[in-house]
Amino acid sequence: MITLTVKEQPNVPLEAESISPDVTVGLARDAIRALPVYLGKRHCRLDDFFEVDGEASDEIEIHGDAAKVKWIGREMSRGRIHIVGNAGMHLGAYMKGGEIDVTGNVSDWIGAEMKAGLIRVGGNAGGQIGAAYRGSLAGMKGGTIIVGGSAGLEVGMRMKRGVIVVKGPVRDFAGLQMKGGTIFLLSGAEIRTGAWMIRGTIVTLKPVQLLPTFCYACAYNPTFMAIYAKYLRALGVSIPYDAAAGSYLRFTGDTCVPGKGEILTWHAN
């Protein structure tokens, strides 16, 4: 286990993609301390900002407020990062495996273009969760992101595969231009949910304001929901699927693309 404790808040966001189990797994303590981080254009050392303890491990624990530390766990493929506190933008971007969990809040672009792995956030998240970076054809292609609190704009923008769960309220454009995958909105979302979605599923437990280009199809209880419910139960998320309790209203769209996506809205009996 490697423990990093924030000792000095950077005055501008710190770029710290070197905080990744793939990097630290083979490194001695001195080498970890000397890992490069970038403060603006300046090359700095990791121990300029963190107390470093432990060595040669693919488990990293971060204590303190890392809200200004960007790119933690970038492209990680193994191990675990446990953050007791907040984390900054691009957490777990391009991630290929392993696990990140954060007890506090995180910023925008977490899990952007990730391929596999698990990100769990106890607090609130910013926008563009699991999204495609500007210009890219596809966002996350696999893995799971679970946010305990609220989330910002463009959640799952252009995502292709994988699961995003947001327990709290979500802002505009959830599932924007979605190409596949599944988004669970446990407390609904603001406007333009599923705009331009081509494929994929948005499941919402609270009714959302639908765009006029979504059409009502049917009320049903898809069998896959039970499978999702079982998978997510293990991660502390409860999804209703029992036909006795209610059913999902299926809306298809976004027909202005034209798309074959769906928004499933839970309707309790």
Binding site: K41, Y133, R134, G135, S136, L137
Partner: protein, 541 residues
């Protein structure tokens, strides 16, 4: 003063094929002998003249547009962090200016030709070329859709057209004349294209693509430019375009021309489903017409960005891919289109394109007339040239790669039957000596006395890709710039320009045309010579 000792020298221009000899350098040039000075021990190594890229797109407005349009490529590109020896930059399909210089030099290339520059944005191109370090540079100015020239051809004023072309070359501070889809880009402004050579272009009654091609090739020869007309034929990329390409070569009669990225012009078939290679047909004609040179424009599988003045083709490509599309209109001169593209080995069309590039390189007998390019970044990025070299030098490896193509592709290509393997001497010709000769750069592409001391030294390695990707030393004007993959110095390169003769009275003809039709005033239009750092001007007659 420097002596490169004991290397096996490949200098095809001086008929030296793998002879162990010393190369002596003084004041940036190759000399007969030196006394004292430093020595590089090249025993057991291979010594080549520095590479010359005859056709690439590395500077200018279109490149910047492409860079801005494809952030997704930049994010995954190689990063060049700032050090005391180099500036910050990134690689990828459209490297930044400084990175372009580092990447070319790192691969042993020391001269590059930016192949398509409109006069209107030539200032921008020269600014970027100035920031492209190490390599020497030159550029070709776009002329085949210039409406001032076309109006003169319509009126039959060929003599004045010649003066205007000469004036425009000097205004752009260019080295050669480029023709892209003659007439087709002008037609694109009417939403059309020029797919046949003998039909008049929209807006004109007498001007046809054939007329533009034959007039420009004659003008270039009459002006005595060192490099012939640099020609991107009509109908690029389309199945069945072999007929257009052959007809173009016939229209040229005996005038010189350089056929750019010939791979994109050598397809048979009627549509995308029946597309096949016609490299053999093209090579058969080409082999017996010594007035022509060509570069391959080879394709490699992977991610790229297509950038060309051929606006109508880019619109079609956009419709085929459904990806992004950028279109630029350059007033009376040309257009430009940009479409990100990924060549896939599993795609039948891409597989045929991949094969055609290699087939041309193998079927054209004379290496002095076909040169290694990928039409960077259109077919692949320039820093992937070593992959092509390995494919050319090793027939077994090539056949292995052919076997990985879709089964359907094999009946459309002849690559599997070709056993030719390039020798090191032939590689030196297609990467350096040949393009230097076709460009008329007498001090490039060879290691004879008086040549620029642009030299690449490789460790001999049976893996051609590895050998040519990682030179042991690269020297530019006698200075070691790269040593074992590390940048040792970043000197500024020169720029080659030509000054053809023209009647100064032509300005009196051009001025009112400008005032009426251009958004830029006549005085601001030409690139001043003072803007070009380290210009090397060549007068022609």
């Amino acid at each position: 003063m420097l002596r490169i000792k004991g290397g096996k020298v490949y200098d095809p221009a001086n008929k030296i094929d793998g002879v162990v000899k010393d190369i002596c350098i003084s004041d940036g040039r190759v000399v007969a002998d030196v006394q004292g000075g430093k020595t590089i021990d090249a025993t057991g190594m291979i010594v080549f003249p520095g590479g010359v890229d005859i056709h690439t797109h590395v500077a200018g407005a279109a490149l910047n547009f492409a860079r801005a349009m494809t952030p997704e490529n930049q994010r995954h590109a190689v990063k060049f962090l700032h050090t005391s020896k180099r500036r910050t930059g990134i690689g990828g399909p459209t490297p930044t200016t400084f990175a372009t210089g580092y990447l070319y030099a790192g691969m042993g290339y020391t001269t590059v030709v930016e192949a398509a520059v409109p006069v209107l944005s030539a200032k921008h191109t020269h600014e970027e070329l100035r920031d492209t370090p190490i390599v020497d540079k030159a550029c070709c100015v776009l002329m085949a859709n210039n409406e001032i020239v076309m109006d003169l051809l319509e009126a039959g004023e060929d003599e004045r057209a010649k003066d205007v072309v000469a004036w425009l070359i000097w205004a752009a501070k260019a080295y050669g004349v480029k023709a892209v889809n003659p007439g087709g880009v002008t037609a694109w402004k009417w939403g059309k294209d020029a797919k046949t050579l003998h039909e008049s272009i929209p807006g004109y009654s007498k001007v046809t693509p054939a007329r533009i091609i034959s007039s420009l090739s004659k003008i270039v020869d009459q002006l005595g430019l060192p490099h012939p007309l640099h020609l991107h034929c009509n109908n690029l990329g389309a199945p069945g375009n072999v007929a257009t390409t052959l007809e173009t070569m016939k229209v040229l009669e005996n005038n010189r021309a350089h056929m750019a990225h010939l791979q994109f012009h050598s397809y048979g078939g009627d549509d995308w489903h029946s597309m096949r290679s016609e490299a053999k047909t093209i090579a058969d004609y080409f082999n017996v017409h010594p007035n022509l040179t060509a570069d391959a424009g080879a394709v490699l599988f992977g991610n790229s960005v297509t950038i060309t003045a051929d606006g109508p083709w880019q619109h079609l490509l956009y419709q085929l891919t459904g990806r992004k599309w950028g279109n630029l209109d350059v007033e009376n001169e040309t257009g430009c289109g940009i479409v990100p593209y990924t060549y896939k080995g599993s795609n039948l069309v891409n597989a045929v394109q991949w094969a055609v590039g290699l087939e041309l390189l193998l079927l054209i007998d004379d290496p002095w007339r076909i040169f290694l390019t990928t039409d960077h970044p259109n077919g692949a990025c320039f820093w992937r040239y070593p992959e092509i070299i390995h494919l050319l030098m090793n027939a077994d490896f090539r056949r292995e790669r052919v076997r990985a193509l879709p089964a359907k592709a094999l009946s459309r290509i002849v690559l599997a039957d070709l056993n030719r393997q390039y020798s090191l001497n032939e590689i030196a010709i297609i990467t350096s000596a040949g393009p230097a000769r076709a460009l008329g750069l007498e001090r490039k592409g060879h290691l004879g006395v008086g040549a620029d001391a642009d030299i690449t030294i490789y460790n001999q390695n049976p893996d051609g890709e590895h050998m040519f990707r990682y030179p042991r030393y690269v020297l530019k004007s006698g200075e070691v710039v790269v040593e074992e993959g590390e940048l040792r110095g970043s000197p500024e390169g020169r720029e080659f320009l030509v000054k053809p003769a023209f009647d100064p009275a032509v300005e009196e003809y051009l001025r009112p045309v400008f005032e009426q039709q251009y958004t830029m005033s006549f005085e601001n239009y030409p690139v001043e010579l003072e803007r070009i750092e380290r210009a090397e001007v060549r007068t022609c007659s």
